[in-house]
């Protein structure tokens, strides 16, 4: 089969690889009909995440048709159309039973390594480093889905791939980011980053009833899309984020702040971002936490910082004194996808939201390597790429 494989920094290739096979009776094999390049794939592409090996198959946002099921899998049958959440979960461990699927205690097959690095291991993820299991990802023609009797979401007839594909990651990720802000009708929610996750944060915050939603970025077309979803926008290259946020909140600051940027923050010109660039360049810091610092500074006291943006390692000069003295709450983590999928699928089916609004590029799997670069460089108006194997 064909698959997009990581061969090193900024080196993704479409290769011919062996087809996957059932390895456990709970497995299923899914023939991928649509997959997407996620913003967090770019952290792998740019070489910021440790634990990748040459030849790893990329991709954790995919859906398709079940073509084979293991003997003990009572949930799926051949022919089912499924969206596969990016977090792999067993459904039986203590964390899964509590709904914390992204920290499943059994699905990371490299748990001992992750235990050493993180203290305790999170769940296994598709196509996202050997620290989270080294599972082959979904930017391929076929995928083996472990614990396939738990997470895959069956798709009802009548809904297209493009309507439901993002249930596997970015829609629930934006939704959880907004949900964990505990949005009140009087709240201003500020969202850093108008990439795909940021776009879903905007729409989730609107649906959950925030009085005002503000989105911060510098790419004109992304800001335009955020405005279409109901956000007031701030272009951080042309305006002071802190001044504008204070202006829009009568000097009080937003009650809720969401970091939909993560470890590769660009903040041209600010002193702290130059500092991060310098330290990252000489490998003294892994991540660039400009957004976290800005959120901590500008958030209204007793507010909430929600962090769906991916961070990978160690961060420097985090003003934790601000967090403590202002009594801020930080909520973060990979998304507990299955906690939200039933509700979100219903909202899609009822037409409340159509997630396909975010797709800007559609292509064949073979075009994936070039589109990684297009997406990374934000060229050609690229916001979300969907590939069809």
């Amino acid at each position: 089969m064909k698959a997009l494989r990581w061969h090193g920094k900024q080196d993704i290739r479409c290769d011919e690889v062996p087809d996957p096979a059932i390895e456990h009776p709970r497995d299923a094999i899914v023939k991928v009909t649509s997959c997407a390049i996620c913003g967090s794939d770019l952290h792998l592409y740019d070489g910021f995440m440790p634990g990748m090996e040459s030849g790893d198959i990329m991709g954790h946002e995919f859906m398709g048709e079940v073509v084979e099921v293991g003997a003990e899998n009572k949930k799926l049958k051949v022919g089912d159309r499924v969206v596969v959440p990016f977090t792999i979960c067993c459904g039986e461990c203590d964390q899964c039973r509590r709904g914390y699927f992204s920290v499943c205690e059994r699905s990371n097959r490299n748990k001992s390594v992750a235990d050493k690095v993180f203290g305790h291991s999170p769940a296994g993820l598709f196509g996202y480093t050997h620290l989270t299991g080294g599972y082959p990802g979904g930017q391929a023609e076929f995928v083996r889905v472990p614990f396939a009797d738990v997470a895959p979401v069956k798709v009802p007839d009548g809904l297209t791939d493009e309507q439901v594909l993002f249930l596997g990651d970015i829609f629930p990720t934006g939704w959880q980011a907004a949900v964990q802000c505990d949005i009140q009708p009087t709240d201003t929610v500020a969202i850093w980053g108008a990439g795909p996750v940021g776009q879903f944060c905007v729409r989730s915050a609107v649906l959950l009833g925030a009085r005002q939603v503000i989105c911060i970025d510098r790419v004109p077309e992304r800001l335009e899309m955020a405005r279409a979803g109901g956000a007031v926008t701030i272009d951080f290259e042309n305006e002071s984020v802190v001044e504008r946020l204070n202006e829009l909140t009568h000097g009080k600051g937003p009650e809720k702040c969401i970091d939909a940027v993560g470890l590769e923050a660009h903040a041209t010109g600010s002193l702290d971002s130059l500092y991060d660039r310098a330290k990252q360049a000489v490998m003294l810091e892994t991540d660039r936490p400009h957004v976290l610092r800005e959120m901590m500074y500008v958030c209204r006291p007793a507010g909430i910082l929600s962090v769906p943006g991916v961070y990978g390692g160690v961060l420097d000069k985090i003003p934790f004194g601000m967090v403590m003295n202002k009594g801020l709450t930080i909520r973060t983590g990979q998304t507990h996808v299955n906690r939200w999928t039933d509700d979100l699928l219903r909202r899609i089916a009822e037409g409340e939201i159509n997630p396909s609004f975010v797709i800007t590029h559609r292509a064949k799997l073979e075009d994936g390597p070039a589109l990684y670069k297009t997406f990374r460089d934000k060229q050609d108006g690229c916001i979300k790429v969907v590939l069809q194997p």
Binding site: D182, V206, E224, G229, N238, D377, K378
Partner: protein, 182 residues
Amino acid sequence: MLDMTRRSPRPETASGLARGLGWFSIALGLAELVAPRAITRSLGLRGQEGLVQAYGVREIATGIGLLGTRQPAPWLWGRVGGDVLDLATLAAAGGSRRQREARGIAMAAVLGITVLDVLCAATLSGTPGRATSRGGMSTPRSYGYGGRRGFRDLPERMRGAARDARIPEDMRIPKLLRPYGN
């Protein structure tokens, strides 16, 4: 004259080379900063220790710039400017025959590095960049995303449409910590 179109490295090779030059800059800069006396003594530049240290700071800054950016071309052209300064400083110095010989070797080395800098900078100057609101390297244009609201109705009419969502207690502010009257 150098034929850039024929001899320039491929962009991927040039990117790798730019990183290499970045590390080289930092190493050279550190040497100039930490051991200026040894350098001035061997090259016949005695009394110019302060200048050598300033060049060291320049090299380190350029190196960090090169390693920390996705658009290294301006930093590489900055290196070329630095190379010219280095060559001028070396050419203007006096000293013994042995020191002049050492300077000759140093100038040859700087010239070699200058050629690399120019080739690399020329190759990467043609590499397209990202469209930004200020123009950047690509011309920004409208992509017409203004109609992509994603909702079935206008956002102002969709505000609060999901207030029926059951927010799990573990993702809410704990009841005991909620503001009065809430």
